[in-house]
Symmetry: C4
Subunit: 386 residues, 4 copies
Amino acid sequence: MNFSDHQIGIYAQGMFTDQRPQITTNLAELEAEAAESLSPEALGYIVASAGSGSTARANRDAFDAWRIAPRMMRSSAERDHSCTILGTESAAPLLIAPVGIQTLAHPDGELATVRAAAALGVPYVHSTQASHSFEEIAEGGGDAPRWYQLYWPTDESVLLSFLGRAKNSGFTTLVLTLDTTLLGWRPADLDRGYLPFLSNLGIENYLTDPAFQAGLEQSVEANPVAAAMHWAQMFPNPGLNWSQLAFLRENWDGPIVLKGICTVGDARLALDHGVDGIVVSNHGGRQIDGARASLDALPEIVDAVGEQMTVLFDSGVRTGADMAKALALGADAVLLGRPFLYGLALGGQAGVEHVLRCILAEFDLVTSLSGHTGAAELGRDSVVHA
Amino acid sequence: MNFSDHQIGIYAQGMFTDQRPQITTNLAELEAEAAESLSPEALGYIVASAGSGSTARANRDAFDAWRIAPRMMRSSAERDHSCTILGTESAAPLLIAPVGIQTLAHPDGELATVRAAAALGVPYVHSTQASHSFEEIAEGGGDAPRWYQLYWPTDESVLLSFLGRAKNSGFTTLVLTLDTTLLGWRPADLDRGYLPFLSNLGIENYLTDPAFQAGLEQSVEANPVAAAMHWAQMFPNPGLNWSQLAFLRENWDGPIVLKGICTVGDARLALDHGVDGIVVSNHGGRQIDGARASLDALPEIVDAVGEQMTVLFDSGVRTGADMAKALALGADAVLLGRPFLYGLALGGQAGVEHVLRCILAEFDLVTSLSGHTGAAELGRDSVVHA
Amino acid sequence: MNFSDHQIGIYAQGMFTDQRPQITTNLAELEAEAAESLSPEALGYIVASAGSGSTARANRDAFDAWRIAPRMMRSSAERDHSCTILGTESAAPLLIAPVGIQTLAHPDGELATVRAAAALGVPYVHSTQASHSFEEIAEGGGDAPRWYQLYWPTDESVLLSFLGRAKNSGFTTLVLTLDTTLLGWRPADLDRGYLPFLSNLGIENYLTDPAFQAGLEQSVEANPVAAAMHWAQMFPNPGLNWSQLAFLRENWDGPIVLKGICTVGDARLALDHGVDGIVVSNHGGRQIDGARASLDALPEIVDAVGEQMTVLFDSGVRTGADMAKALALGADAVLLGRPFLYGLALGGQAGVEHVLRCILAEFDLVTSLSGHTGAAELGRDSVVHA
Amino acid sequence: MNFSDHQIGIYAQGMFTDQRPQITTNLAELEAEAAESLSPEALGYIVASAGSGSTARANRDAFDAWRIAPRMMRSSAERDHSCTILGTESAAPLLIAPVGIQTLAHPDGELATVRAAAALGVPYVHSTQASHSFEEIAEGGGDAPRWYQLYWPTDESVLLSFLGRAKNSGFTTLVLTLDTTLLGWRPADLDRGYLPFLSNLGIENYLTDPAFQAGLEQSVEANPVAAAMHWAQMFPNPGLNWSQLAFLRENWDGPIVLKGICTVGDARLALDHGVDGIVVSNHGGRQIDGARASLDALPEIVDAVGEQMTVLFDSGVRTGADMAKALALGADAVLLGRPFLYGLALGGQAGVEHVLRCILAEFDLVTSLSGHTGAAELGRDSVVHA
């Protein structure tokens, strides 16, 4: 079965049973549709970007500037998009990006998301700032491949505890986020004075952590505010530096991926420091206003290190055609962020599945219609720059 | 008589008889005017493009980037735009593009269109997915030159039957569409769960086909749904490949044109495989979101194969000036799609004629005012890139 | 007195007498303000451009792409923008562009305009399609320098009569318009079936012409429609060609200027044919949709022929800064079209004067603030391309 | 303490005390928010730019074209943005731009602004056209470093008096504005006939000046109008030229900075004439419509003279990311104009402080998140051109 069979399924359901998709299939309109169902706080936290939103716009413009150059009559009836990413098998070169505090979008939060990932056979990346703990995901999340995204806490005991719990909960690959050692300037949240973590939302991994609790008990007041303040003391980590990677390697025996690389220089440093992969990303424009588009950085980074390490991509992927473009420019896989969250907001697990099915169906159609029998065939020749 | 005499006719009618055109003469506004008269389903099917609409926008942007560089005082009083395209004579280098299921726009459907083509003396290309059969067009369509556009059905008996019926019905040239071996991801239709073919609309060529009927009778249930399902089984053809062209040549003795070429590579392959012509086209942006503009591909394709084979063009032509630009960039003729359909929606045969007269009048004015005595004089020097 | 003294005058009047300008001083907003006071027919005829309006937009975009690079402390207290254009003295390198049928904008029509030109000391160019005859302008128009714009009628007796009357009425320079041998495709007029000339508006030069009347009397019916039809037979002249210029030279002893040049090729031909000057112009976007911006053609034309002949410019000039840019790119003077017409619509002669004073005041400020003591100092170094 | 601690302060206040910022933290939205609280006259004077606003738009577009290329894991926990600008110490490379007549925005005018500057530890530049005199600022303005911006009056006695009073009032550095020897063409003011100086607003430095008063008493009528007229006679100074700088050097013993440089040529002349610094600026687009973006001129000017003199920048800075870009392109510091004025309009001194705190917080976050431990580390490698 090809992903695009979802398309004919929608048509058949519409014409023969009069049922229509409850969520739009127009992936470019998903944000607007989701915005109507989100609270102002959730809307501000999820949709809005850093500063004036310039980076998020640049991400989209960069996708618009690369155009697919389709080839005809290449016999793409049989298609296989499955792949192995750092040892993790996936039905397609797509992973669920790490996104914190998903209960803002829907009460089921990350549990709905990981179950949808399992249904589609794609890896789920668990955020350090999730609303559900490692163990909850492991127990209730089904058999989706699980990776763990780390915000490096400045409390080493908590760091080690996180790594241990992640490993014990079946998270195989570690994704260290580099670009959020401080939170970006986010006016939508600032204008509301809204930082959900300070209400103990999205810090479930911490609250359930023995080392965090141990540290907390040493503080004067062990109340909810104290927990938030304890978190607030260990989350910011602007002192993070390359020399610390050795410590991580000593304490994690699976693949290590660095997320947030935007320059060839840092890609080369990552290679020099022996990590297994990188994610070319500007955090979806949520950290630095006026930053370069993630996609603009991708080709030169792939040229520099693509043959020697795994290069993943995120920031700005909205459609199956976007996914095809990023892969054509050399990404080994893409991480999907906001779109799945919009699906979550609109329909919980079913909503996430809807979005994943739509994006993969369009991806399948686009790759086939442009002459490829699978994601692996996409290459620099598949696109032109406008 | 020059095409532009239509202009002075409109003025004379307005000033002396107080009658104004019932349909706008502003070809750039035609879509908006037609949109008001179409049902939501027809609107979604006809106007909307694949995915986010990025390819359709790119088509238009590409026209905007090429600018006419008019020459003065070249004595263009006598003008002749007539031409012979692969042996077919036409009053101008313009053909009616193959568009399926035209009864969505107007009850008279393709019959109105082909009659309008006859009135103007331009060729009509009949879609495999038309609302009227080959024979109906042949009988009721007047003397317009007739070409046949083929979606290659996977049932070989139906394919051969189609070719035979087309030939018997006076269709002289075969246009094989390459870019729609699967339907593109079209949210406007998907959100409505609307695929008209599943209601047996736009499959009249099949329903009237002996081979199709024979196959249908072998199915368990011979009811309307069964016909639609039978169609749905033979329409998708992603396995289509270059080696199959020999079979087509054996079974069609007229010119063969490949429609949907977007790259020099495929244009060269078409030449190597001995076809008579190609249509540089991205299906008006209806198949792949994020594809390159058709017009951006035209010059390099003309440079590569233009002297050795007929190069036609479609995707994005809205005005007479657009037509002039495509011809200047080397197209031997253009296919006009949505605009004539908007005319059909707004006024049936008269509406199609209105649009054709307007576009040809503007084309005549533009070519004359820019110093050409006919379409054939348009060349690379007639335009500059902005 | 410098033109910019108008600025301090407006401020003084506002602050000390509480009187404000009755027409906006924002030259970019003039069109919108004028649009409110024009009838739909006049609005369509005056403001709208050919086809989709793409050429008019390109004209504006081209101005936006060139940027003034101001120089400081160049001591520009004393400024002189006066100049001599083909022997005609002007207070500034600006002429009133030939615009037909100005009574559409205001009952006083061209008489108001020519009087305003006289008040400002700039030349007025009289359109063949004016609402007032040569003689009326000569008698009632004051002492503005007068040029005559010719649409070459196909009736040679009328042509010769026009030339003679113009000369007798004190029009010193002949401007032959090349780009309107046919009217462009103008949907705003076509949709209204509105061509004012067919109501005998804007053909006053013809109606008062002995040769025209003589021809008319030979027609079957000598009624108003007959006059319009007689005009309609001699106005279109797509057969116009370079060989005819010799005839013009024989029958006109003043300078001859060709208006509508958009390419280096035609500029060189103009030079070869011994004309005295050219106007780089695309008729304000009113003739060919999708044509190149007039300003984009200017620098290369100036490079090719600027040292050997007078190069004037029009199409897209809206502000004093625009005027400065065109002069910096090598134009010897600019022709101002629509803006003065908007002033005419909003206030008759006073309105035209207002627009001229504003544009010249801004021009004076811009040239001074960018380091020039007069229009003649503007050069290629005064601008950069963005 | 880092500037970005302001961010966590806003969040803590919001979450723990339910108090939100009274003025938006979205620096890109500040103008719209301020516009609602300004009178039409103040709005027109403060927000609007010269002519069509093209220069102001170009300033913003230029910032959009340069993109930050962030580096990761560079250990930026300790950050220091303090700097010394021509001997003046500042907490960050940011100065309060000279803006006249600030009482238009808020009754407290420049006094509120200079106190806010003091609170943040950044220099305040006093406009010649201020609503408060040198002495008022010195007495009531706290300990902000004070610079003085000079519009060179054509009355030498007033000039010398201004220089003396400024020096006596503790203004250490002189900023001579070059680009406003005449006021630009400002339609928003002209349409209202509004020039506040003619009502004796914004000429407090003059009204309190002995030399000005002495000159005034010699005029026929010593009434308010006479004062305005006396000002109007000495303000315009289009004769300003390079040879006059020697006089300034003789009569000012502190650093001299030239403001309004837009070309390499003028930057080199400034260097040749021995000034201490320049401000690359187009006066925020308020003087010449259609001028080049200030930021587009910056890199080439820095390349030409940056190693030999201080290069400051203004025009278009709205956010902390903008500030980072200008510094990365070689500016030694930026002057902030309209944004602080919007803060002033919205909240007096507290409003200015709010804007300064927000912009510096975002600047601190952006520089840290992009891998810098302080403003001084920003360089050409920190950005890429899109």
